[in-house]
């Protein structure tokens, strides 16, 4: 059997992660092409109904490891390694996200497997899976194959779409013995929200602020520009980690995914992990003083210059235009 196992991540309320659900649908499609089956694995206290419900995304079977805690990678590596070995499963697939990287990497070592990451597409070829992985800041696409199975595939954020086809999965509870080192990390607090709760998902116009703003106080400038256009302000992880702006405003791999009519990036380099959260914006305008910044590779209008000079004048000009 050449099955595919997908890790379905959930939050403390039991809601499944959208990218995990996308990975389930992708696995179901690929399993069809390989002539095998896709299954899911969940850990923690997930109800029977929620577990069965994953069948709606095309998986026939859900393995549930109730005693394995959710939220840290290594206990889940123990669970997935056991399920893959016991059931002779050839591939593990992860939707985009931080935990998928860590679990996938751990499994690679544990199962002596091959691993690919930041994968944007997968296809079956001669009974094996082949992946597409953009490299060197998306300037090249590599087709990568597995020399031997098992193979670990870590998807890029939003690479796989959810496809609800209906149906129920069979649930099998598995008992997993944790390895000694897996119990040596403990989650003390999960999912802490830092900073106020802001709504950026409903905004048609977003001004994204990055490290180029220089300091927390300069977010005022971004807020004034956004309000001149009736929009909201978003941020990169770099500035959120630095405490300059609330986590709820973060765009990207471990933040939100948005697609406004306008995304105006001010002082943002355009790293892949940021790009994946905003690349589907209808219009992207970037202001950056470094002409080699990656953001200039995928924006619609790029302005090479100092945002401290440009942004205040732009705000005034927009206000004047609207007023007149």
């Amino acid at each position: 059997m050449a099955g595919i196992l997908v890790y379905a991540l959930h939050d403390d309320e039991g809601n499944f992660n959208k990218n995990s659900l996308g990975a389930l649908s992708e696995a179901a499609k690929l399993a069809g092409e390989l002539g095998s089956e896709a299954s899911a694995i969940i850990v923690g206290d997930v109800s029977d109904d929620a577990a069965k419900g994953l069948g709606a995304y095309g998986v026939k079977k859900v393995y549930r490891a109730k005693d394995v805690p959710e939220g840290l990678a290594q206990p889940i590596v123990d669970a997935m390694a056991k399920v893959m070995t016991d059931n002779d499963i050839s591939y593990a697939l992860f939707g985009g996200g931080l935990l998928g990287f860590e679990i996938g990497a751990g499994l690679t070592a544990r199962l002596n497997a091959g691993v690919t990451m930041e994968v944007t597409a997968v296809r079956a070829e001669d009974g094996r899976l082949v992946v597409e992985r953009p490299i060197l800041q998306d300037s090249q696409i590599a087709d990568v194959g597995y020399v031997a199975e098992p193979g670990i595939i870590i998807g890029r954020l939003n690479a796989f779409d959810e496809n609800e086809t209906g149906g129920e999965a069979e649930v099998e509870d598995v008992a997993v013995e944790l390895s000694e080192w897996s119990s040596k990390a403990k989650l003390v607090k999960r999912g802490e929200q830092r900073g106020e709760d802001v709504n950026i998902e409903d905004a048609e116009i977003l001004v994204g602020g990055g490290r180029g703003l220089g300091q927390a106080e300069n977010f005022k400038m971004a807020e004034e520009l956004a309000s001149s256009m009736g929009g909201a302000v978003a941020a990169t992880r770099a500035v959120v980690d630095a405490g300059w702006y609330p986590y709820a405003a973060q765009i990207g791999q471990t933040g939100k995914t948005v697609a406004p009519k306008l995304y105006l990036a001010a002082g943002i380099s355009g790293a892949i992990q940021h790009k994946v959260g905003m690349q589907n914006s209808e219009n992207i305008l970037a202001i950056n003083k470094d002409q080699n910044a990656p953001i200039f590779e995928f924006c619609d209008l790029g302005v090479v210059g100092d945002l401290h000079k440009i942004v205040p004048k732009l705000t005034d000009a927009i206000k004047a235009k609207k007023g007149g």
């Binding site: 403390d12 031997a148 802490e192 986590y247 892949i272 209008l301 440009i310």
Partner: protein, 262 residues
């Protein structure tokens, strides 16, 4: 306590990176530098030491060709006490699985209490080496850590995961990859730069650290690059250089107006 920092030599950010179409590997000619993300790992080690934890030694460890010695010198200039260079023709072309295995073997020999890495290599961008190494070493691990306090044989770490910030307690020995927001790396002093070449540097071949030859190099890798191609062309955006800001702003407003965005 002994801390090992994994460091890598990467092409300088200003050099355009390209793939050699013959070998399908990164063309490594041209200017090179210490992976900038790894300077945060060394700085984190220095801060543990200066924070009062009993750190006997900080060791920089790399796997790479002869030239990678320069990355080790830079790491020593930033504060490492000595360095270890794993280098062997048999390791060339190793993929993530093979690299992680080989690094774990060289680390086993050092038996550190803490292994620190950067959040990503500037060229490979795999984000995974830390967790691969950790599982081989049978140590707990965490990646993308932006705050780390060491006390009583354990670390209290913070990092951003899918639902917000997580706080995690990790027992030592452990493998931690640090995010670039964890600290502001210091500049090396001229004296440290000059003295770096005089600090001890051990060089090991694959056999010296017990690496099984069939698990490394291109032949021992579990993945293979089949083909490389450019991505679908996106229509290039318009670029304005800001010379006269009033003019620039006028052009931006016209652009926004044409698209009915204001």
């Amino acid at each position: 306590m002994k801390i090992c920092c994994l460091v890598k030599e990467v092409p300088d950010a200003a050099v355009e990176k390209r793939i050699d179409p013959e070998t399908k590997r990164l063309d490594r000619s041209g200017e090179k530098n210490l992976n900038p993300f790894d300077t945060h790992a060394i700085e984190a080690a220095m801060q543990v030491k200066e924070g009062g934890a009993p750190v006997e030694e900080i060791v920089a460890v790399t796997m790479g060709p002869d030239s990678a010695v320069r990355a080790l010198h830079k790491a020593v200039a930033l504060g490492a006490d000595r360095s270890v260079h794993l280098t062997d023709a048999a390791l060339e072309g190793s993929d993530v699985a093979a690299t992680g295995y080989a690094l774990a073997k060289v680390l086993e020999k050092e038996s550190p209490d803490l292994v620190l890495l950067g959040q990503q290599s500037d060229d490979g961008e795999c984000y995974t080496i830390g967790a691969v190494v950790a599982d081989h070493l049978k140590m707990p691990s965490l990646t993308q850590v932006i705050k780390m306090d060491a006390a009583d044989g354990k670390l209290t770490c913070e990092r951003q995961a899918e639902y917000g910030y997580d706080t995690v307690e990790v027992e030592l020995p452990a493998v931690i990859s640090v995010g670039d927001a964890i600290n502001e790396p210091r500049y090396p002093s001229l004296k440290a730069i000059m003295g770096a070449k005089k600090k001890p540097l051990d060089s090991h071949g694959a056999g010296d650290v017990g690496i099984e030859p069939d698990r490394v190099g291109q032949s021992g890798s579990r993945t293979a690059v089949l083909e490389l191609r450019p991505p679908p062309q996106k229509e290039a955006g318009e670029i304005i250089e800001d010379e006269d800001t009033n003019e620039t702003v006028e052009k931006i407003v016209v652009w926004l107006d044409e698209r009915k965005l204001i």
